[in-house]
């Protein structure tokens, strides 16, 4: 336990997610982060301290009734990029970023729980997903302002829950404790207990945003397998042999083979 506390104390200082840069400096920033010994250690979660079973807060969770942070957010009044931004120069989002350091760090930790590093594929924070989340919730447009309320409330809820269950911020929790909370809120289904419904839905919005931000990066786009945006000389080649073969099987399974559209190959 004591060791755990020490670890967390160290973590607290170390996992300051680097903010203040836009993701468009991403290459530069990524290299800087890779060189830094601070961030990856925490974000990949080497939390080896043993944790007792009761420490997952299962008991606490059961007794927690629904709570919801009523945030007083001042509306974003900044202007947008306007109707005629220069589309050729690297774009700028003129509105100020609004997440605090603590919020950014929490976003980074959550984003990496959602999208951890897998082999050579970087984690969400390694490709600056938190910067995109910050840009999104700070934007002066209607949809983003709605998301701002949803997402900031979710962040506040998660820290409140961590405090109620474990008397610490979420970031300071052990992996196992974090996982306990995640297991309660990361599934928004018919079976989700009433007290987690609202947060599960809000967290779902956050999850979609993190996933989008991840897959929109060059690394994420490669990971999902998108192979377009490359000029092709001559006619469009159409599906590959493998893709046609798969279609044949699908048509057969669905009983549609005899209705197949004629293909000129």
């Amino acid at each position: 336990m004591a060791k755990d506390q020490i670890n967390n104390a160290v973590d607290q200082q170390q996992i300051q997610y680097k903010s203040g840069m836009t993701r468009r400096d991403s290459l530069k920033l990524m290299m800087a982060l890779a060189a830094s010994t601070l961030l990856p250690a925490v974000l990949t979660g080497c939390d080896s301290a043993p944790v007792s079973k009761t420490d997952t807060g299962a008991e606490a969770a059961k007794t927690t009734s629904e709570h919801w942070p009523e945030l007083k957010l001042s509306p974003i009044t900044a202007t947008g990029y306007g109707k005629d931004p220069n589309l050729i120069l690297p774009p700028a989002s003129p509105w100020p970023l609004t997440l605090t350091q603590a919020q950014l760090t929490l976003v980074a930790v959550l984003a990496d729980i959602l999208v951890p590093r897998e082999g050579a594929v970087p984690s969400a924070s390694e490709v600056h997903v938190p910067a995109v989340v910050d840009e999104w919730v700070s934007a002066p447009y209607e949809r983003q302002q709605q998301d701002r309320v949803t997402i900031l409330s979710a962040l506040a809820w998660i820290d409140d829950e961590a405090q109620m269950r474990f008397s610490k911020t979420f970031v300071a929790l052990t992996k196992v404790q974090q996982k306990a909370i995640m297991d309660d809120i990361a599934f928004d289904t018919a079976e989700t207990p009433a007290q987690f419904k609202r947060i599960a839905s809000a967290f779902g919005r956050f999850r979609s945003l993190v996933l989008a931000a991840f897959f929109c990066t060059p690394e994420g786009t490669k990971d999902i397998g998108y192979v377009g945006n490359v000029p092709i000389g001559g006619d469009y080649p159409g599906p590959t042999k493998e893709a046609y073969a798969h279609l044949d099987k699908v048509l057969a399974d669905l009983g549609l083979t005899e209705y197949a559209y004629p293909i000129q190959t």
Partner: protein, 559 residues
């Protein structure tokens, strides 16, 4: 333009205005074009290869850029700063405007389907709306000319909703995608055919324009000219004749007339200096887009034309139509985890579902009079802010879900014909004015049972096709819930309709206003009906045909 002795003044540089300018300048007439938006050069301004990830908010649409950050629309969209419009109580209408050289042709979908004989004579068949004052046969050769000039890919299908182009006119269509082939098989089982979409996209080089290289969202614009936009084709071609001059940032506020009712020219605001200028012209062609041209006419009042210019029939602003629209989609489990390949193609439909129900309508088996088509979507596209879809959990399994579902969502977009009704029109708001003091348009809107029944049919049909693909679209919304807002499909037409009689129409079949022989309308305002097939090919075809007629009149001294 003191040193340029022009004969014809064209208002607007979009599809209609540019085609008119092209046809007239080629025939040797000097043309001056006025465009309210800024000058725009696709060669240097088009963000063709830009990725969503580079854009603010992953390129998501905002009120500043409705169709996404890199969409080619500049200074336009549902909202145009300084240029409001209003809706009457209980009405909702969305009015899309582009304020740039080339207008909406810089970013339109380029779907280019011919209307058929059937489409031009709806009233003769079912008694609703109005017939056009000419037959398909009259316009067919002009469709050929327009398609050949613009560059349209597709094939002749023999389907009764798709009249054939003459041999050698259409460019070959690109191969269909897997998603489209699956839909085609599922639909065919229900007796519904799919066909290559006709699109104003070059699959072969044409004049100075390159063939498509199948890589970039056409909504960004196409600096190589493969996706048709007037700024890479008609305007430079017309300029090359030496007979065209263009003034941008020139907002026309009224059409001026003399005491005999003859049009003498226009007054416009130079937006850069906020000063008003008058220009004299022998002929004025309005091609500012349907509702903008109608607004101009209604605002051009005089003692002789107290209800607005060219409005002795009282029809200016009336008969406002849009296409019907509704979206329906689902995850198709059979497509999950399918083999990935480059599915960009020309980035819009290679196959689509044309209207197949003419015969059933003739037999009175359907409870709606006019047809619709489905545009279809679903491919391995570049990730955007909506890529995640409906997924659960966290960690490696979460990402696996998104990858499984990648390329497995299919969406149908219904586009249907609307019958004009007395509740759908525009007039001038008695109070509100724009920044330049020009009274603004006010919209009145209500869908009728025809459109609602049609959408209900479309939703049911789509559900059945999805079911054949093993997909469940869930409980269907009511048509009232599903139908998109008036104006939302951006095919607004009819406000200055053409007809056979000055009593119930604004122009004759040549787009010449009945009231003033030297005033023409060459945008979608002249449509007598709005078949489900997107309107722009027909706007251009009419502008070409009618400008050719106008040229002959000018040469004969008849105008």
């Amino acid at each position: 333009m003191k040193d340029f002795d022009f004969e014809v003044l064209v208002v607007g540089s979009g599809a209609g205005g540019s085609m008119a300018a092209y046809e007239l300048t080629k025939a040797g007439h000097k043309v001056l074009m006025l465009e309210a938006g800024r000058d725009y050069d696709p060669k240097t301004e088009t963000p063709m290869f830009k990725r969503n990830g580079e854009a603010p908010l992953m390129g998501a649409g905002t009120i500043d850029k409705d169709f996404g950050y890199y969409d080619a629309t500049v200074d336009g969209g549902w909202n145009v700063p300084n240029e409001p419009y209003t809706a009457a109580d209980g009405s909702e209408f969305l009015w899309w405007r582009a304020r740039m050289l080339g207008g909406r042709t810089n970013h339109w979908g380029r779907y280019s389907l011919r209307f058929s004989e059937h489409d031009f004579k709806g009233k003769s068949r079912d008694g609703l709306g109005a017939d056009w004052p000419f037959d398909y046969e009259d316009i067919a050769p002009w469709y050929d000319k327009t398609e050949a000039l613009v560059g349209v890919c597709g094939t002749n299908t023999g389907l009764d909703d798709m009249p054939p182009s003459s041999d050698g006119i259409l460019q070959p269509p690109p191969k269909p995608r897997i998603t489209e082939l699956l839909i085609a098989a599922a639909a065919k089982k229900l007796g519904i055919p799919l066909a290559p979409m006709h699109r104003a996209v070059l699959t072969r080089p044409l004049d100075n324009r390159a063939a498509c290289f199948y890589a970039t969202p056409c909504g960004h614009g196409c600096s190589i000219g493969a996706a048709f936009q007037t700024t890479t084709s008609l305007i430079p071609m017309a300029k090359a004749t030496g007979n065209l001059q263009v003034i941008t940032d020139a907002m026309v506020k009224s059409v001026d007339t003399d005491e005999n009712g003859k049009v003498t020219g226009v007054s416009y605001v130079d937006k850069k200096t906020s000063t008003v200028h008058q220009l004299k012209a022998k002929v004025v062609i309005l091609a500012a887009s349907a509702c903008e041209s109608a607004r101009l006419l209604l605002n051009s009042k005089s003692a002789r034309f107290p209800q607005g210019l060219a409005n002795s029939s009282g029809q200016v602003g009336k008969n406002l139509m849009d296409s019907t629209g509704a979206n329906i989609g689902a995850l198709v489990p059979a497509l999950q985890g399918r083999p990935i390949y480059n599915e960009d193609g020309h980035t819009a439909n290679h196959l689509f579902i044309p209207w197949w129900g003419h015969k059933a309508q003739e037999r009175k088996e359907l409870d709606f009079p006019r047809g619709y088509h489905f545009e279809i979507g679903g491919r391995f596209s570049e990730p955007n802010s909506g890529i995640a879809g409906y997924v659960q959990g966290y960690g490696p399994d979460l990402k696996r879900q998104v990858k499984q579902n990648y390329g497995a969502y299919i969406g149908f977009a219904l586009r249907g014909e609307m019958v004009p009704n007395e509740h759908c029109y525009m007039d001038i708001d008695p109070e509100v004015k724009d920044k330049w003091g020009i009274p603004v348009a006010r919209f009145h809107w209500k869908w009728s049972e025809h459109e609602l029944n049609q959408v209900a049919h479309g939703l049911k049909t789509a559900k059945a096709i999805f079911a054949e693909m093993g997909a469940d679209v869930g409980e269907l919304p009511t048509p009232e819930q599903a139908i998109l807002k008036g104006g939302e499909i951006i095919h607004e037409v009819g406000t200055t309709r053409m007809g056979a009689s000055p009593k119930d129409s604004v122009t004759n079949q040549w787009g010449q206003s009945w009231d003033c022989p030297n005033l023409f309308v060459m945008d979608g305002g002249v449509f007598a009906s709005n078949p489900h097939k997107n309107c722009t090919l027909t706007i251009m075809t009419l502008a070409m045909r009618n400008s050719s007629w106008l040229s002959a009149q000018l040469k004969q001294g008849a105008i």
